[in-house]
């Protein structure tokens, strides 16, 4: 059975998210909050442009790691949930199906539409997004960038491979690394990400 992307997006994007009695949103083992895309863009872009080169590199690595944690735990929480077992698991026949299902699930968080371009089982994943928020804003405010700015999609792309082809949860994080090979902030038409095995692991 092929992965029904539209169905996954539809199921996970409807209804209100559960809250505790303090009003905090808790779902899939994580605490979540909405915020303006402009908030994240401004905080990060100001930090990267005001910090020294060394500090900026350090922050970019920290952000990549923070999103990797976020994606690895959130996606694992989702794929072990009752809703996933009911709706998604019947579509998943191979590990590759699971990658496609996790990418579909990512497309409910409001960060731009991610799609799979190429998947080599256990080896390589290429993803692409045309409408990420940050790169357009970088271009608008700071001009063409020296390297890609989409730390969020980069870490998500690595995390799919970590979860599906890495050692069993929670030991697989960092099995794959990901590079952004094209970015709209550098003048490309879209942002593209390539995850391959992390040789340092």
């Amino acid at each position: 059975m092929a992965i029904d992307v539209k169905k996954i997006i539809s199921v996970y994007s409807i209804g209100e998210l559960p809250r505790d009695n303090k009003g905090i949103i808790g779902v899939f083992g994580i605490y979540a909050a909405y915020n303006y895309n402009e908030f994240y863009y401004r905080i990060v872009s100001k930090t990267l442009t005001q910090a020294s080169k060394e500090e900026a590199e350090k922050v970019e690595n920290q952000l990549y790691q923070a999103v990797l944690d976020c994606a690895y735990y959130t996606f694992h929480g989702a794929r072990t949930s009752m809703l996933w077992r009911e709706i998604v698991e019947p579509m998943v026949e191979t590990p590759e199906d699971e990658v496609h299902a996790l990418v579909a699930f990512t497309n409910v968080f409001g960060i731009g539409y991610l799609e799979v371009v190429e998947l080599v089982p256990g080896e390589k994943l290429v993803t692409r997004v045309y409408n990420a928020y940050d790169p357009g804003r970088y271009l608008e405010e700071y001009g063409p960038q020296p390297h890609g700015r989409c730390y969020m999609f980069r870490a998500c792309t690595a995390s799919y491979m970590d979860l599906v082809y890495g050692p069993p949860f929670p030991n697989g994080m960092g099995t794959f690394k990901c590079k952004e090979v094209k970015c709209r902030s550098m003048g490309d038409k879209y942002c593209e990400f390539v995850a391959t095995k992390n040789q340092d692991e």
């Binding site: 605490y31 402009e38 990060v44 910090a51 409001g110 960060i111 539409y113």
Partner: protein, 176 residues
């Protein structure tokens, strides 16, 4: 909390994976990322990362809450507008924040729950200094929207925080 009076029109575009609230793009992020971002900024060397974090939050909410108020002319009094801000804060998932004791000169705000406290405890455990920097910027930004003042018109300091053992978070607000 009653939501009947204040409308936060949330829309999702499944073909684009975009979410908007009252026309402005928002996204949903977890505590690993939100706290990781705050920690990275807090640890910055050479620039005052926390001031940058608070000021940026203030700018963003000054802008977007002003837009929200323009779309809702039925909110006429400062009390109504501040209540709308409180409920926006709750709707976004940041917790319960009481702004009703604030006026144009400032005052005191109180939160009985805080996303950043819950999130930081889950990610990094207890800390001995306040953590609600986002809320400080939020309060300054919405007050500037409500009273039509420029950025930098309010100074907000968190004087008590749930994460350090207080029963609530308290924010002292002064007009500059």
């Amino acid at each position: 909390m009653e939501f009947s009076k204040y409308v936060f029109d949330k829309r999702f575009s499944p073909e684009k994976n975009l979410i908007s609230v009252s026309g402005a793009l928002v996204s949903l992020h977890c505590h690993h990322f939100n706290c990781g971002l705050l920690k990275a900024i807090e640890e910055l060397k050479g620039i005052d990362g926390l001031t940058l974090f608070v000021k940026t939050t203030e700018e963003v909410y000054r802008h977007f809450f002003s837009d929200y108020l323009k779309q809702h002319p039925e909110l006429t009094t400062p009390a109504d507008k501040l209540q709308a801000a409180s409920e926006m804060y709750y709707a976004f998932g940041f917790g319960k924040l009481n702004l009703s004791n604030l006026n144009e000169q400032g005052g005191t705000a109180k939160a009985t729950s805080s996303y950043y406290v819950t999130a930081w405890l889950a990610k990094y455990g207890r800390r001995h200094t306040p953590v609600c920097y986002f809320t400080c910027g939020f309060i300054a930004g919405v007050l500037e929207s409500v009273f039509t003042k420029p950025i930098g018109s309010y100074k907000v300091k968190e004087t008590k925080c749930l994460i350090t053992g207080s029963d609530f978070c308290e924010f002292e607000v002064k007009a500059i």
